[in-house]
């Protein structure tokens, strides 16, 4: 198995509800896997298990073929799994540098003893990673609040790249973006794939999926109901899988 990341029989229950039911998926380096499903299909729960927010009740996660314990977001980050959440997980009141380094701040010594935040160094590093991804933001001293949706998404992506993500999970990366910005973000995804990063995309936008994903996995009521190679399927068949009438797509 040459999977970068693999889940085997992951199960998560909330009380009587089985949100994720024995789901096994695999992700290779440089590949984009789209996870699709209707609201409540269990996509977000699955993602949160992989990124350490939820603990699975059953099942295992393998990273680079070895079993991994992911009990907290920190464990996931340490394993090279970065997640960009739908609400972007940026603190809007902080600037770009502070956000890229949030939770992993760069410190310096002041007056020989006191450890203080090194905002200058953080901004410089932030600039470097933004340059690498060809993203332009007028001033890194500005708070996220003042940035556009696309700029925010770009900051969130830069943040994960800076920390050497091996696996990048993107939850609805183009929701709430303008057309031009959607294209830019999808281009970024291609750039990341070229750099060998494995990407999991959760999306409602069929267009995004067919634009950048290599494979897709469809979930329905917590169960993985189908996997397809993007080149070998079409939107109708995928919609059929999502709503639970696979035949719709095949009749065509």
């Amino acid at each position: 198995m040459d999977y970068l990341l693999e889940t085997r029989n992951i199960t998560k229950r909330f009380g009587g509800l089985t949100a994720v039911d024995r789901v096994s998926i695999g992700l290779r380096a440089g590949e984009a896997l789209a996870v699709l499903g209707d609201n409540g299909a269990g996509k977000s729960t699955l993602i949160k298990i992989i990124s350490g927010v939820h603990k699975p009740d059953e099942g295992e996660i393998f990273i680079g073929g070895k079993p991994a314990r992911i009990d907290s977001p920190m464990d996931a980050l340490a394993a090279g799994i970065e997640t960009i959440y739908q609400d972007l997980a940026l603190a809007e009141n902080l600037d770009v540098g502070a956000n890229i380094f949030l939770g992993r701040e760069r410190m310096k010594r002041s007056l020989g003893i006191l450890k203080v935040l090194d905002d200058q160094a953080m901004r410089e590093e932030a600039q470097k990673v933004l340059d690498r991804l060809d993203i332009h933001i007028p001033s890194l001293k500005k708070t996220i609040r003042t940035l556009s949706g696309g700029q925010r998404q770009a900051v969130a992506i830069s943040r994960s790249i800076y920390w050497d993500a091996k696996v990048l999970i993107m939850d609805e990366p183009t929701a709430a973006l303008g057309v031009a910005e959607q294209k830019k973000v999808l281009n970024l995804v291609r750039t990341l794939k070229d750099q060998g990063i494995g990407i999991i995309i959760i999306s409602h936008q069929m267009y995004d999926v067919f634009e950048v994903a290599d494979r897709l996995a469809v979930m329905r009521r917590g169960v993985l109901v189908g996997e397809r190679i993007v080149k070998e399927t079409n939107p109708d068949e995928v919609v059929g899988l999502i709503v639970g009438s696979e035949t719709v797509g095949k009749e065509r």
Binding site: V53, A91, R104, V116, H136, Q151, V179, K184
Partner: protein, 348 residues
Amino acid sequence: MASKAEEAAIGEKPVGGAGKNGILTTIKAMWTKIGILFIFIGMVILASFLSPAFLKANNLMNVVMQVSYIGLIALGVTGVIVSAGVDLSSGSIVALTAVVSSSFAQRPDWAAALFPGLTGLPFIVPLMVGLLVGSLVGFVNGWLIAKTNIPPFIATLGTMTAVRGLAQLYSRGRPVSGLSDAYNFIGQGSLFGVPFAVLLLLVLAIITHFMYSRTRFGRYVYAIGGNVNAARVSGINVGKNLILIYTFAGFLASVAGIVVASRIGSGQPGLGNGYELQAITAAVIGGTSFSSGGIGTVPGTIIGTLIIGVLNNILVLTNVSAYFQDIIRGIIIVGAVIIDERRRRVRK
């Protein structure tokens, strides 16, 4: 969308560019940054016209002295509100700290000592005990909020009520008097002509400002207030940092409690009533945002505190009736926040 839009880089500015009318934008930028300072200076000028007594050094020192307790509490409350919380227990912490710490500071020759066994202890003991008690209440606040997930308003409303009762119970409803001179120095003494309490406020304001703006802890408080989910998924231990910020607020409220008790030379269970709201007012006037977390600074809060002090002083010097004073204060609080919200919208 036109092809021009497609060309647009992600870095395109979302709002119109600056620089067209240079001076106007500079003034605007200064206003958004330190607008509250202009208001403060305006009030000082107004006050000096209204009453010639205002600018006398003695009076100015008094103004600062009278709001020093509020300032001390407000330093901690600022952090709490920045974390998208609130602390209603500060006034009760002042009372509990005042009676407990005073009970360890009574003179040995004081016949009516509440706890005769505790008299004549070294000067440091009442301070340590007082600070410990306040920090402990703050810890309980933080623990309740972090571990039981109840809203900060409710958690601290509970401790506000219970701690006030505790202060009454401890002192049996009576004032704890006959305090040692060393203890009383904190609230009554001066160094280089400046009241000790004012120096204390200054030093703690500097330390707190440093903590909020330059340390990891401070950054996390802002992150939690700005987007608690972002903080959590970034690996920040939200619960631990919430406990820390409420403990710190409790600590500062207990400093205020010691200052108040030593100022009047007696620890009383009724002290500090309403201080929590005045401290919140100071923070809010100083730009700490109640409507969205993650916004607020120590310098802003200090100016907010001074504005309260100057306002109180103007009202007294101009003989405004006590009823009118409260009405004017109420209007100023709401007015300051309206102005602040406007300011923020400009910044967006």
